[in-house]
Amino acid sequence: MDNFKQKFQEEATENLAELEEALLKLEQSPQDSDLIERVFRYMHSLKGGGAMFGFNQLSEFTHHLENVYDQVREGNMQVNQGLLDLTLDAVDHLKVLLHQGDEMSDETQTRHKNLDIQIRKYLQEKQQEPETPQNSNQRQDKTKTFYIYFEPEERLFDNGTNPLFLMDELANLGQAYVMPCLDRIPRLDQLDPQKCYTHWEVVLVTDETEDAIHDVFIFVEDQARIDIHRLSQGNLLENSVFAQFLEQNYRKDQLIGLDAIKYVAQHQESVQPEAHTSQSRDASSGKSGNQGTGGQQNQGKDTGNQKPASPKANGGGKKEDAISSIRVESEKIDHMMNLVSELVTTQARLSLHADQSEDNELEAIAENVQKLTRQLRDNAFDIALVPVETMITRFNRLVRDLSNSLGKKVRLKTEGTETELDKNIIETLTDPLLHILRNCIDHGIETPEERRRAGKPEEGTIMLKAYYSGASVHIQVHDDGKGLDAEKIKQKAVKQKLISPEASLSQKELFDLIFTPGFSTSTNVTDVSGRGVGMDVVKRNLAEIRGEVEIDSEPGTGTTLTVKLPLTLSIIDGLLVQISDNKYVIPLSAVHKIYAANHSDVVDKFNNLIVLDGERIPFFYLRKEFDMPEAESQTEEIVVVQYEGNRIGLVVDTVIGEYQAVLKSLGKMYKYQDMISGATILGDGTVALVMDTNKMIDRFTSDYQQQINVES
């Protein structure tokens, strides 16, 4: 059981997160019966699981909570703020309980009691949970003999019940003499094989209580007449007169009846039981069901024709169905990703070696390995992807708690939360996003009063949107608050000596100052976002996962922060190109098309435009940008890449081909350059640099801009 316990904890943690999420949604729409049902269900699972895996306190606690929501579900109670607050507190407490198990710390214990009392208050006037009487296990030592009459409804089979199993179970309680009565079976042409026509008389000798006999029939209590009578103490079936009586009087088409049996039983009791011979015992035990199934054979044959639909043992064609999902430690996934990266690097060597060997066989193998490696890589990536959704509950909770404590009304809306990202990215992303949200609520959204004055709805909205954009995922946080005040930012920056008072900066550049270390616009420091950790930290954290952040704002209508993130961290599909003696990798996801170009078309062009497929496309001659001499060959190649919705050509010497690049960091010496996002080791051991085309084009463009500014 213990190894399941951990699994339960993991699962319950998720369950609690989902419960929390549902509760937060419920706050928005307290009448939503689907949500109430969901809340109830999560609690229910927690309770059930808790009890099964030894979290008794947790289970009991949840039980009361569940009862409250049961009332809500039944419409006897309304969801209100007080209840939601209490439930959310309870959820927090459950998290603690899940961690501590039944051995609570003193502090937890106090909290436990307090919450429990509060929850019970909600149930006060409701009726007490009826305690179902559990089978009292007072086993009496004395053997007794019972008469049991079992008459099921005709449609007993409809529920999948097999009455023979019940007879069998009865026989397992002791010694049973089972007498099926077949008088109601109609003629074959009128017989409906779907119906149960048989009824049974059983004489049972057992040490068990009457309750235990009732338990046998517990599933069919409401579908059958079940009479249980105690005939006598002791074992009547061992009495030869009684046994003989049953044997002689049993007819398949007629009941013996309780009265007759009772009479014989009583009669036997008054008379001293005769010493029975072992022969007669044997004869009777042939019919009486001893332990096991042997005694059922008669009935099995008799009733067999009525039960065509009895479950059949499966024949061949057994299909193995795999478990639909498994839980894996995240470290294992990290490890697998590392191995896959190494494999990709090694595979590149193999491919290169195969190419050079001129051994066809080897080449074929290498090609196959390449194909498999690629599939393995994609698969491994897929495993490590986690939907953005996993973070959202935390955000919801933050928004709720924070806006309440600041006296603001804020609502978090989300869109595209099914967008998936590498789990490592998600992990690193949570904190920066939390900080961004804190900022939105603290600085962005105004108080309800201010909002009313500005003619906006009292409730502010924060929209969190996630979507794919090429090779990256964008997460956009938009608030409809007061927006950024460019002038105020400027004053502040001047005061902080971040810029000189004379500097003329565009609005965007001013906004970007927010990300400068040592900048915080809040005029009065609050304990929310003014704890010295500024947006610069957000930016730095995001940079660690190759993410970027952009800000845009419209005074009075709100602020939009866009976080751009790479899909994965470690391996990318790239296009290997050569410029002079160096090799570079351009992320394949950015590549749009490749053209061949005449040398003369791309060198010394006045406006750096080239017509490709009837479209004018701006381009950069990379040799020039990299301060290398012009190429001597007559043809070069243009790789057209996507850049902020436009297409830009990058001129390289030659395109070598597709390449899976395992990204390695350039090391801290190069952390201040951003045109190159990393390096990768090629099959022959040389290093290729991986271009960040967006940043590169950014840089080239601003260089030109400056050039133009200088010239003019």
């Binding site: 059981m1 399941f4 699994k7 339960f8 699962e11 319950a12 369950n15 969901r38 109830f40 269900r41 229910h44 699972s45 309770k47 059930g48 699981g49 009890a51 099964m52 895996f53 289970s59 039980h63 569940e66 009862n67 049961d70 949970e129 179902t132 089979f157 409809d158 529920n159 999948g160 019940t161 097999n162 199993f165 019940l166 069998d168 179970e169 046998v216 517990i218 599933f219 409401d222 199934t293 639909a309 009895s310 479950p311 059949k312 043992a313 499966n314 024949g315 064609g317 057994k318 299909k319 169905d321 478990i323 639909s324 999902s325 839980r327």
Partner: protein, 121 residues
Amino acid sequence: MGKNILVVDDSESIREVVSFTLENEGYEVKLGNDGKDALKHLNGDPIDLVITDLHMPEMDGIELIKEIRNKDQYQRVPILFLTTESQASKKQEAKDAGATGWIVKPFVPAKLLAALKKVMR
């Protein structure tokens, strides 16, 4: 040949415990996350018993039981549902839908097997 048992529960830990117990007894276990998910197993494959939770997303236990009873092949398959003591009305609802019996949560493996023996051999 082992009997095939379909276990349907949205809680992974319950599924694991139940399937572990059953597999130890030599049964073949198929799993479903919820009613809807479980339907994929009701495609003609032999199923000798269904054990299902009642509260599940997508399709709850009651719905599943009705679905099963609507399929000719599975019309007579015994169905046990998992329940807690507090749900007397649910119990009736499930029985009306066609369930064979129930197992009260929390349960230990012995209790599970005892209930199972009532409806399947």
